[in-house]
Amino acid sequence: MPLKHTKWITVFIALFLVLPIFMGLIGTLLPAFQFFPPLGEYTFSLDPWRNMLAQGEFYASLKLTLISGIGGPLLSLWLALSLLAWGYQRPFFKKIEAFLSPILAIPHAAIAIGLLFLLSPSGWLIRLFSPWLTGFERPPNWITVQDPYSLSLIFALVIKEMPYLLFVMMAAMKSIQARETIQACQALGYGRLTLWRKVLIPQLYPIIRLPIFIVIAFSLTVVDLALVIGPNTPSTLAITLYRWFNDPDLSMRLMGSAGAVFLMLVIVFTLAGWEIMHKLLSHLTRYERSNGRRCGFSDNLLGSGVVLGLITLLSAFAALLLLPLWSVAKRWRFPDALPSTWTWNNIERATPLLLELASNTLIIAVIATLIAGVFSLIMLEIKRLSCAKSATPSEHHAFDWLIYVPILLPQIGFLFGLHVLLIYLDLNGSLCAIIALHLMYVLPYVYLTLKGPYLAYNEQYLQQANRLNYYPWRHYVTIKLAMLKPALFTAFAMGFSVSIAQYLPTLIAGEGRHSTLTTEAVALAASGDRKKVGSMALLQALFPVIVFWFAQVIPSRWTKWRLTIKCFFSKDKKCSA
């Protein structure tokens, strides 16, 4: 890309990445200390903190947040490591790999709704064993979802995060020469799980530290998942804050802001504690690693993780399969494992609403992703130029860490602050505002997906094209971007699915005036109208899967199709595509 003024563009994009978040943080930080001009509060004080600490709900919520926010990532990491250690480079594991990407692509709200259908007292799991085993003729009076210990929330978090960690780990395996290490260790007589535990996992951990941190920050602050399947009254801290922010009594916002600041501190301390625990653990196991024992008791830890991991994956699929089932069920009484009568009426009746929601969702997702794509290309081109110019190409451009800021910071921490800014700008509730907020979350994923292939591109093709005929802009598109099609399509699918999944940004920027499949599905999840919720969650899950499928199929066949079409319309009889 023949870019000029790269310095200015760099500054502009960096500001775009940082400024909204900075404003949002300020908009949260000031009210947390009682300074909130819209309510006529111009003096600083610690009252919001005192009020917050006086709430009994606060402590209960904090406990739940810590349990689910640490338990979820810990379990996800354990199960993901176990599955990888057990299956790495085994043929059937390739099939599991293929199952991972749909789970990754599907919005977590849809998975949570599917889990609700699976695990609730009247859910499919109990139906399957009723009445022949359990004797239940009606749903038992158990609390299996939204339980007060947030176990179902942890389970939902694990279902969402374990595949992600597994995916990240498999990408990281190449850089630690895993295959050679495994062969060398097996030649020394080490068992598979032991060599993983002693040799590979210690090497793998530093590479996947950042993704683990992202997972922890996400688990501590997740809103939509917790709304659907988390405990309520008391709920997790993020949900409690969310309620405070939405309270008709606007002064509750001050307390909510204090809570949001506190939640960010919780993240910092949790991450620090996690790292200290890791240091401690690796220190304690250091001796054990080199004691020469070829197998050990703690191998069982990995072994049992495999079983749990497979159960988790299986229930994720069961949950997803229940979505279409409910959307076409007419009569499905309790102990029946399948609906007794089927119908398209549910979908037909919901069609006008679904069409509206789907078009809103698609417009936002497509526009946000396309903008993110253009931004990513410009950012990567600047990075490439700066790498080419310096004699010692440094790995880290400012963009490489700036891009993580929106992912790592809790949405609840700055979105409400940002909302105040939107009101000042008179952008609140507009489609533009929603797209802009989505962009903040879509951009990092698009950038990170494109980064590898873009920087690996052999620039000589483009240079040769410009030597033959000098049209730098045209050739950037027709040669470089055309050759990068597979990466561009994958990045689009990635950004698209991230946008579809956004709940809080849509709600806050849109003020409920623009509903998407996600906001509506989460809002209705508790309603009990499973047929309607099922259809919504199904659509929500279907879009990303279809887009990912397109991203796989189209780029590899594009040229063949293009040449066939071209031949069809040309007079040239020698055409044989």
């Binding site: 080419a388 110019k389 310096s390 004699a391 052999n458 000589q460 093709y461 240079q463 040769q464 094209a465 410009n466 030597r467 033959l468 005929n469 000098y470 040669i479 055309a482 050759m483 099609k485 594009w558 040229t559 040449l563 031949c567 040239d572 020698k574 055409c575 044989s576 595509a577």
Partner: protein, 211 residues
Amino acid sequence: MLSVNAFTLSTKNKVLIKDLSFTIEKGQVLSLMGPSGIGKSSLLHYLSGTLSPTLTATGNVLLDNNTLHNQSIQSRKVGLLQQMPLLFPHMSILENLLFAIPPEIKKQERQDLAYQALEKLNMPDKAHSLPKQLSGGQQARVALLRTLLAKPDFLLLDEPFSKLDPALRRDVRTFVLAEIRHANIPALLVTHDAEDAKAMEGKCLEIEAAE
């Protein structure tokens, strides 16, 4: 005629090539040999205007008595052929050839020129194939003709034969030499292989490390 006077190439702390001068007549190939890493390819990049910003180079380059080295890349009219044929993988062979033909030429004539090139390559049936369906030797020849279809004023060859197997290499060399003579432009070949230099039937210049 292409002439280079007192070409000097250096990195931040080291002089690679010092005071290199030569001239090449139209239709002739000058072969440049020397150890790897000395900056032979960088000389070609200097001539084509794409020198890496980490290197500095000085020296006069004249093409038919017009200075070349201070012109922009687009006005140099240079053809460069490298180890990799760099055929665009998402275009058919015909499209690759058409891509190079200057835009002033009218549509029908463009088609004719491209098909003539295919005839010359003995592969008119491959017009709508993709580059990856061709053998390495075929790709190298298509790449040469594509470069020449752009009507360059001079040609730079950066070890274009090194990736080919020996039997093919001989054929491709003869083909390249014949085409350069036919196009009647000066050509500079950088190579490791003394056989390459001999086959080009021109002068051969060996450069050594400076200092």
